[in-house]
């Protein structure tokens, strides 16, 4: 773990969150501080340790492919911020030229 400075604008872009200049400064500093604390993990020798996948032993179980009860389409759509008929309405994704 290097003592890299976080490119907070790039991380925010990945996380899809618009940040103000003030937030860039504040979060950048706070995340830097947190990473300093987190770096203590470097002292732990984990070379021979497997990563945790689950804490309680479990295995995949395939259920029968049977039709069950689920939410009504209209119930789900009622909470949509914007809709158009049976669909969620979003800003244009594909331009007309393409």
């Amino acid at each position: 773990m290097s003592s890299d400075n976080i490119d907070i604008r790039y991380v925010a872009k990945l996380a899809r969150i618009e940040l103000t200049d003030d937030e860039v400064e504040r979060f950048g500093r706070q995340l830097g501080d947190l990473l300093e604390h987190v770096k203590t993990l470097h002292d732990l020798d984990t070379a021979a340790v497997p990563a945790t996948a689950q804490v309680v032993e479990s295995r995949n179980v395939a259920r029968a492919d049977a039709v069950g009860r689920c939410l009504e389409h209209e119930t789900v759509m009622q909470m949509a911020p914007q809709r158009q008929g049976a669909f969620f309405r979003v800003p244009r994704i594909i331009s007309e030229e393409s």
């Binding site: 773990m1 899809r16 947190l34 945790t52 969620f88 800003p91």
Partner: protein, 492 residues
């Protein structure tokens, strides 16, 4: 306050089942208490007067028809990250401020089916991220024992409601200590079962490998009663464990003979100040007086708990909270294209702590850092499980503080990391998935205050040791009576 609200959940259920009082009467008493105190306390984000009365009517009809219900007429506060069909479910966030749940969480449904009556949706730190409820975007909750102090978090609303007699049971969720710490701050029993014991279906996800639902109550017996009802396999949550639930409420003990209690060397209390240190020494002695044998155990990884947790939990949250993008539900802020719409919606909808955690999680999972941070933390997590396994070869339970201080004043923890430190004792247990609870263990006088504040003793057990854990906690509670020394502010 009506006498009915001072009754335990067990006693309310007994009286309602026996026809001595109706669920409707108890519900009216709870709603009256809420109306009398909650404007000052702020435990609830939504009061459910109408739904509560309808639910109570149904319970009374079922009792009349001859049914016996384990939680008949028990008023319950539901943390606002749990879905309850037809009610606003906000997660304490502007993102979900107007969102109405279309279905009911399994754990909630099980309580209601057992006769419990939902009286309100309780405040919480936004998306369950916090230890004081101060991160709620929708309201401020005070500690009933001192209105100038926080109730703890993230299940702070549920804790305040139960401590102020606005409910007999609170439903909480615990990711790194969010049931145990508010229970400690409000002189309650707060119980986090083994990971997977209680279904997470309908619990809005924060960190899926850690999140677990559990009860907050004014006694171990009440917590056990609620746990017995909510635990068990649920086909709607594939991580819920398919393993018989050993009933806890009927197996409570009054002594600790034959129980070995481990005191973790790395969880020493000397650093917490002389008053708190002597409080815990006394608590351990009390366990011994009840017949327990104290043994020293080691948890060499303890000091790495926060670092491990603050990589894993944010990583999972950054993934889980990606769903809040303004498309299907919740807030939307328009933008000229879909990308701008996502970015503005999330900028407006999430508060600072949620943004911080999403950013740290996104960073830890991003290309080039994934192995160094996320995988490293998952390896450290394995070591916690192994350490506890070794410790439990020498003991049956582990005792420690639940939090490093009593409830603190509002705005006292301005630096995020100092807030994270509150969960020093609870986080390692969460990483290992173990069941644990906080039980009241007495009062201390916070610096500069004349009002004594409660502290909690944390007890933890091996995986699926819920019944033994609750049995032992009951013995401690009954012998010490700390849980009965209830001193909410006179104003309430």
């Amino acid at each position: 306050m009506s006498e009915a609200m001072e009754l335990s959940a067990a006693e309310i259920a007994r009286r309602v089942n026996a026809g001595e009082v109706s669920a409707r009467e108890v519900t009216d008493a709870a709603l009256a208490q809420i109306d009398a105190v909650d404007d000052r306390l702020g435990a609830y984000l939504t009061r459910l007067h109408d739904l509560a009365r309808v639910s109570a009517g149904r319970v009374d009809a079922r009792i009349k028809a001859g049914e016996h219900l384990p939680l008949a007429g028990v008023p319950v506060a539901v943390k606002d990250n749990m879905c309850l069909a037809g009610t606003r479910t906000t997660c304490g966030s502007k993102m979900l401020e107007g969102w109405v749940a279309p279905y009911t969480a399994t754990a909630v449904a099980r309580l209601l089916d057992a006769g419990a009556v939902p009286v309100g949706k309780a405040n919480m730190d936004e998306f369950a991220m916090g230890s004081s409820c101060e991160n709620s975007a929708l309201g401020k909750t005070c500690n009933p024992y001192d209105l100038g102090r926080v109730p703890g978090g993230s299940s702070g609303g549920s804790a305040a409601a139960v401590a102020a007699y606005e409910a007999a049971i609170g439903m909480g969720s615990d990711t790194g200590g969010s049931i145990r710490e508010p229970a400690a701050f409000c002189n309650l029993v707060g119980f986090k079962p083994t990971y997977g014991r209680v279904s997470r279906y309908g619990l809005i996800a924060f960190a899926s490998s850690l999140d677990q639902i559990g009860p907050l109550a004014r006694s171990v017996e009440d917590a056990a009663l609620a746990y017995d009802v909510m635990a068990g396999k649920d086909p709607m949550d594939s991580t819920s464990v398919d393993r018989p639930v050993e009933p806890a409420a009927t197996a409570l003990r009054s002594d600790l003979r034959g129980v070995r209690v481990g005191i973790v060397k790395q969880f020493g209390t000397q650093g917490l100040g002389p008053e708190i240190d002597s409080l815990y020494r006394r608590a351990y002695l009390d366990l011994e007086k009840l017949g327990a044998t104290l043994v020293d155990v080691e948890l060499p990884t303890a000091e790495y708990g926060l670092a491990t947790y603050y990589l894993i939990a944010p990583a999972e949250c950054s993934s889980n909270l990606a769903r809040f993008d303004g498309v299907r539900y919740g807030l939307r802020v328009d933008g000229e294209d879909v990308g701008r719409m996502y970015e503005r919606t999330r900028a407006e909808g999430f508060g600072p702590e949620v943004k911080r955690r999403i950013l740290i999680g996104t960073y830890a999972l991003s290309s080039g850092y994934y192995d160094a941070y996320y995988v490293k933390a998952q390896k450290a997590r394995t070591m916690f499980g192994a350490d506890f396994k070794r410790a439990f070869e020498r003991c049956d339970l582990i005792a420690s503080p639940a939090a490093s201080s009593p409830a603190f004043a509002f705005d006292a923890k301005s630096d995020p990391y100092s807030m994270y430190m509150m969960d020093y004792y609870t986080i390692p247990i969460s990483l290992a998935g173990l069941p644990a609870l906080s039980v009241p263990c007495g009062y201390v006088l916070p610096e500069g205050s004349s009002r004594p504040m409660p502290m909690g003793l944390q007890l933890a057990a091996p995986l699926f040791g819920e019944a033994q854990l609750l049995a032992a906690a009951n013995a401690y509670e009954c012998a010490t009576q700390h849980a009965r020394q209830r001193r909410p502010e006179g104003a309430l």
